[in-house]
């Protein structure tokens, strides 16, 4: 190693050996992006994947995981935000929280209690709160009428409400007994934190869970895809090139694994391994161990057919050695095939992984999209229109990720396979 380093300065730079490597790389990347620009669908998939990558890498820093159980903010619909409710005469006086200085403010517990203004309170010294808080219990459904009565009687100057469900209730004046009081109320501007996707069964921000819940799934899926592709390529090309008894053994091994019912055995294995499955490498290895054979057989077939191609035959006729044939003739012709199948392996790992979690068969250490689905199903939010954001959000996140992967892979397929290429 050191001797070559010392030798280097004395030798003139060898243009034909190291520059072309960088040059080819740059060329490949340029050609790739040029092709991608013409392939709109592939571009969409690529941009989507970049988005998911950025979200996984930067998201946790930007939107911290909300693990703060807020019993008063359970199951908020998407887009919910704090609003101030005042009598119509006071509309111009109270527009923001700052306008409420020195006033008495009503809060309805269980649908936006004190935690709504906690952040706001935190900005003030403890002995000098900006306003008095009067809390009305939401229990047994009388909370809202009672709070509104308080507002009408002048007991409180303004009411801070939080859930859009309550806003709807008030604006649609459904309580006829209090019709007069309701009609005199005005919901002022929204302020405070917006729950883009609503909150879950524990009052936690679903948006933060979506942002944070993808990275570990994607990591395991990439790992599993890498493992199974690597094993498949290695064993497949070995089987095809060596031939004979090793070939037969490898093919039998692949057929054996292929006969094992993949998903059920994965479930059994996951139970068997239990909490150790928290280790992403183990989970990825497990998924890969059961999913390499299909690709392995495809790689073997591919190498077998490449071996028969004219350019390989020509190379053989020219007397070029086996290493040259494998590295220069066969592998480059298979790279796109391998890359595409890697992407498909990742999507299939995603399928199995989330399937395991959804059935409750994988230990829950990260609060991933899959865990959201699991809780969404076991806690019954799946069947309630108000709280379905908890299930629908991860459903959309998973679907989008998978679609981006597949669109990207399909366009790669088109780019590299001249027969499929668009005119």
């Amino acid at each position: 190693m050191t001797s070559t380093m010392e030798m280097m300065p004395e030798k003139p730079p060898r243009k034909d050996s190291d520059i072309p490597i960088i040059g080819t790389l740059v060329l490949t990347v340029t050609v790739f992006f040029k092709a991608l620009r013409r392939n709109k669908v592939g571009m969409v998939g690529f941009i989507g994947l970049v988005f998911f990558a950025l979200m996984s890498l930067l998201g946790p820093g930007l939107v911290p995981f909300d693990d703060d159980v807020k019993l008063d903010q359970i199951g908020a619909p998407p887009g919910s935000q704090v609003k101030i409710l005042v009598q119509s005469a006071n509309v111009d006086r109270f527009r923001t929280l700052d306008d409420l200085q020195g006033q008495t403010v009503g809060l309805i517990d269980r649908s936006g209690g004190e935690s709504l203004v906690e952040e706001y309170f935190a900005g003030f010294p403890e002995d000098n709160p900006p306003f008095e808080v009067e809390t009305t219990r939401f229990s047994s459904g009388r909370g809202i009428p009672e709070a509104i009565e308080g507002l009408a009687n002048g007991e409180v100057d303004a009411l801070i409400i939080w859930s859009d469900n309550i806003t709807d209730y008030i604006t649609s004046n459904r309580d006829l007994a209090q019709g007069d009081q309701f009609s005199d109320l005005v919901v002022s501007g929204s302020l405070g934190k917006r729950y883009l996707l609503g909150t879950d069964t524990q009052g936690r921000d679903i948006f933060s869970h979506i942002v944070n819940g993808g990275s570990s799934l994607i990591f395991v899926a990439l790992l599993a895809g890498f493992f199974s592709t690597a094993v498949a390529v290695l064993l497949g090309s070995m089987a095809a090139l060596v031939g004979g008894i090793p070939d037969r053994l490898l093919v039998s091994a692949a057929n054996f694994v292929l006969t094992i019912p993949q998903f059920p055995v994965l479930v059994v294995l996951a139970l068997l391994i239990g909490s150790q499955l928290n280790n992403p490498f183990l989970l990825a290895g497990l998924i890969a161990a059961l999913s390499w054979p299909v690709l392995m057989r495809a790689v073997r077939a591919q190498v077998l057919s490449l071996r028969e191609r004219e350019f390989v035959e020509a190379a053989q006729a020219l007397g070029l050695g086996m290493p040259h044939i494998i590295l220069r003739e066969i592998l480059p012709n298979m790279m796109s095939f391998v890359a595409i199948n890697f992407i498909f392996a990742v999507t299939s790992a995603m399928y199995q992984q989330i399937g395991l979690i959804f059935l409750g068969m994988a230990p829950i250490n990260d609060y991933t999209w899959g865990v959201m689905l699991f809780f969404g199903r076991t806690r019954g939010t799946l069947f309630s229109p108000d709280s379905m954001s908890m299930v629908l959000s991860p459903v959309i996140a998973i679907a989008l990720f998978q679609v981006c992967m597949v669109l990207f892979a399909r366009s790669l397929e088109e780019m590299f396979d001249p027969r499929l290429r668009s005119s």
Partner: protein, 368 residues
């Protein structure tokens, strides 16, 4: 492997095409065709035995056996001491968790040889085979229907897309198929439940649970058939959406590569009718890999139904398997896994047979 038998008359079989290797291999295959079936059957039985042995030991390695699970349960429920709970459990179960695994294995294999899958461990007195016969038809029916619809539709769409490739129709259908194939089927299931069941309220989710309405008696009546179809509807829709995209795209790509072949050009040059080219030249060759894939996916019918049947509370073999795993009902679990393994092995056999029937270039007995 290379068993030599006297040459048999091969004149009835079409001549294999060109490639030198396929002629010699094909010729060899003809020679051993006589015991090909026997050989393949033996291979299949050995494979099944290997996998079942593997699964047997895998299952026994699982932490927590059914007796422990039950003991824990009654200790918590009835505040019994461990000894009391243990003796109760021992009297309830025919299963001895302390028995030697090898002894259990030999016993199990002996039973299997007589076609007996044993009794369920957790519900004593229930034959596993009876349970399988009870649940299997529902899974075969729902997944089979989904597979059939998606396959036929996918093959037809694929050919059409390949013929009109790069037309707006092809672009839209390709995108659509990619999206269909990308999203896991249980995600489609959840999306359908949430959007159509909960949000739009087109149907009441509760009405669709199970395999048929409980107040309808089983029989060949219109009510019963309607109820069965209604309850199978959601799973079948999900099986179709989950598989259609893949079938379509595979068929499209397969057709496109066949369209580029010389023999298609030659057929065109010879002035053969379009219909004949589509059926005899393009369709036949393009559909070849599809049948292998179809046969292979028949093997995955039960395994693939686990999540969907759990999601829709459809009482098929998939959900039965899942419940057996969750309660560690070893015998039931092994019984279902055995059924799956047998179906996988025989559908692969079927794939080979089909392939050789459809493609004269491939001869049985040839490796892979």
């Amino acid at each position: 492997m290379a068993t030599h038998t006297p040459p048999i008359d091969t004149s009835a079989i079409e001549k294999p095409e060109f490639s030198a290797s396929s002629i010699t291999l094909g010729g060899m295959a003809h020679k051993i065709w006589g015991n090909y079936v026997a050989r393949t059957l033996i291979q299949a039985v050995i494979t099944i035995w290997l996998v079942i042995t593997f699964i047997f030991f895998l299952v026994r390695l699982m932490p927590g056996n059914p007796v422990d699970v039950y003991i824990d349960y009654i200790i918590n429920q009835e505040n019994l001491s461990y000894e009391e709970a243990y003796s109760r459990a021992a009297s309830q179960f025919q299963f001895d968790p302390d028995a030697n695994v090898i002894t259990q294995y030999v016993e199990y294999m002996g039973q299997l040889a007589q076609g007996d899958l044993g009794e369920s461990i957790t519900s004593t007195g229930t034959k596993v085979l009876d349970q399988i016969w009870r649940y299997l038809p529902w899974t075969l029916f729902s997944v089979g229907l989904g597979l059939l619809f998606s396959f036929v539709l996918g093959v037809l769409l694929g050919i059409i897309m390949a013929y009109y490739r790069n037309s707006p129709l092809d672009v839209v259908l390709s995108l659509f198929s990619s999206i269909l194939s990308a999203v896991p089927n249980y995600i489609w299931g959840l999306a359908i439940l949430i959007i159509f069941g909960v949000q739009l309220q087109w149907f009441a989710i509760g009405d669709f649970r199970g395999t048929y309405a409980s107040d309808i008696s089983v029989g060949f009546t219109p009510e019963f058939i309607f109820s069965v179809l209604k309850h199978a509807m959601l799973p079948v829709i999900v099986y179709i959406t989950g598989a259609l995209g893949t079938w379509t795209l595979t068929m499209r790509n397969s057709t496109i590569s066949v369209l580029g072949e010389d023999y298609v050009n030659v057929a065109r040059a010879r002035g053969l009718s379009q219909a004949r080219i589509v059926t005899a030249y393009v369709g036949r060759n393009a559909a070849l890999p599809m049948f292998t894939l179809l046969a292979i996916s028949i093997g995955f019918i039960i395994g693939g139904s686990v999540i969907i049947e759990e999601l829709f509370v459809y009482k098929g073999l998939g959900s039965f398997l899942f419940r057996s795993i969750a309660t560690r009902d070893y015998t039931s679990m092994q019984g279902v896994l055995l059924v799956i393994v047998i179906s996988v092995v025989f559908s692969n056999l079927l794939a080979d047979l089909l392939y050789s029937r459809l493609d004269p270039r491939v001869r049985l007995g040839e490796d892979d």
